[in-house]
């Protein structure tokens, strides 16, 4: 997994609440058996007309946001299905950090597995960042995971919380499976004990 340490980039505002996984990546694109190549279909139905031309007023089609690396989004981002194709599409597009007042649980977990940092902040602070993002391409924000700080284009610093284990994995680009396999003995002893206590499983 790619490391996430510190990024400085353009933030795109998406104030809509309940942006669901069907919006992020419609199911017609779930038929691939690969992990890559979903970026061009990110937000497909909001982003393109049926004939494939771009919908001009969609935020990521505007010149100032085409290379956004940060998304400032409305409440409950990523609700709906468990499809990891959603974070795959987001990462493939080039977005590395999403800020909202809340995220759906499965999407939140999936993001960390793909080098994306989802940040939860109170409404007032999301409002500040949304306003900053609305300024366009000149408003570059900095997200520093080590320091757990976002710096707006005006220099305002906002701190955020992140789970220590998830932070460690992101900073170092660690693969979960490798880490868990180091605990093979714990898994084995759990299985031995469970086989005694609940043999029907």
């Amino acid at each position: 997994m790619e490391k996430f340490t510190k990024i400085q980039g353009v933030a795109a505002p998406m104030p809509l609440v309940n942006i669901d996984t069907d919006m992020i990546i419609p199911k017609v694109f779930l038929k691939s058996i690969q992990r890559t190549g979903f970026g061009k279909n990110l937000f497909d139905e909001m982003r393109y007309n049926r004939d494939g031309t771009e919908i001009e007023d969609f935020v990521l089609n505007k010149p100032q946001y085409r290379s956004a690396e940060i998304l400032i989004a409305g409440d409950n981002f990523g609700c709906g299905s468990s499809r990891e194709h959603a974070p795959w599409a987001i990462a493939d597009f080039g977005i590395k950090c999403i800020v909202s007042t809340s995220f759906a649980d499965i999407f939140f977990n999936n993001s960390f597995k793909n080098g994306i940092l989802p940040i939860v902040l109170p409404q007032e602070q999301v409002d500040v960042l949304m306003k900053d993002a609305e300024k366009g391409a000149n408003a570059r924000m900095t997200v520093d995971l080590e320091a757990q700080e976002i710096t707006t284009s005006d220099g305002e610093v906002i701190s955020f919380e992140v789970d220590a284990f998830k932070k460690h994995c992101l900073l170092n680009g660690l693969d979960d499976i490798g880490l868990t396999m180091e605990k093979a003995d714990s898994i084995k002893s759990f299985e031995d004990k469970a086989a005694q206590e609940r043999p029907w499983v």
Binding site: D22, L30, K31, S82
Partner: protein, 467 residues
Amino acid sequence: MSPKTLYDKIWDAHVAHEAEDGTSLLYIDRHLVHEVTSPQAFEGLRMAGRKVHAPEKTIAVPDHNVPTTLDRAKGIENEESRIQVEALDKNAREFGVHYYPVDDIRQGIVHIVGPEQGWTLPGMTVVCGDSHTATHGAFGALAHGIGTSEVEHVLATQTLIQKKSKNMKVEITGKLKPGVTAKDITLAVIGETGTAGGTGYVIEYCGEAIRDLSMEGRMTVCNMAIEGGARAGLIAPDETTFEYVKGRPHAPKGAQWEAALNWWKTLYTDEGAHFDKVITLKGEDIQPVVTWGTSPEDVLPITGVVPAPEDFEGGKVEAARRSIEYMGLTPGQKLTDIEIDTVFIGSCTNGRIEDLRAVAKVVKGKKIKDGMRAMIVPGSGLVRAQAEEEGLAEIFEAAGFEWRLAGCSMCLAMNPDQLAPEERCAATSNRNFEGRQGYKGRTHLVSPAMAAAAALTGKLTDVRELM
């Protein structure tokens, strides 16, 4: 010992390792797999030279892409869909997991097959790369959806890295009124909490109205816990649960059954256990409901009218404006005046035998509205067989319904069953998101009985008027 919730008990019984900060390795008893979210995970194993840690605890079945028309033995026309199903076929055989292929009568929607075959048992941990894994919580199993990276993690290690969620209690007191079903309960709860209300929680549903539900009804309630944002929904196992499980192909037998039963009977929330959030609804206040918008929280009693954006606050004002426009509705319009083009009955929410019985009860001896497209897609081959044995299929066909083979079908329209732009559907499924059932398609979520009523009248209809 301090009193524990049902969730606390199942969690504690499955922690294989706990770090100082509470990050835990949760052992997984059952891993269900379907064709959409697994190919990249199996490929990951292959690339790393890893095996499936516990193939005997892993169950695979294709459901999302499979055609549900009677001629499906011909194969899958769409190439990508076919490749995805073939990949599951290959992976299941290569890695040696339990497998129900398309032509097996036990094939069906993974969340219907698991319980039906007795794979899902009380007190288990159950995961699947599918958000509606919450369904299995009806058995008092801790069950939730995971992403593909986590699918790979579970395949490789039979564990998940987790932090414990908070406890939430949703109590439905008293009795339901006639015409009100499990679907109405679960939608009413989401209407109350909102789609983010459950974020960070595992919900335990309890109360007389929940106790009175069959296992099918309980599965419907837990299925949509995810739509309320919760990681999982749970219902404590009781005699109804044990009765359902007993004798299923993979349920314990003989002395093991007795041992299992003894443990299962300890799976309830202790008196005085702490819940971080409590919601109480009166069963008798719940009415048959329908969704008007593009979020499952957009729920109203069928007797209501389409709201106006100004009825809401904050970010929901813009979301409601967008929904009303997308759905082609007018604020103030009576819900019962909304005309329907299509009725879809099925899905992991409402594709079980009891759902089909409820439909048959409403449509028996009647005809669906002229020009109505109406399909019934059983949740599994065995549900289909049972419905035929009970004479339900004849009732459906005589009424004008298409009677299909098992699969996810139009719930998410990955197979050919899709809505056309602006086609309006009363659906027993679980999501009314933009484009969910087809590009620009319009979905109203309802119970099976309400869907049946809409098929007859051609409009969203209060099923109580037909009873």
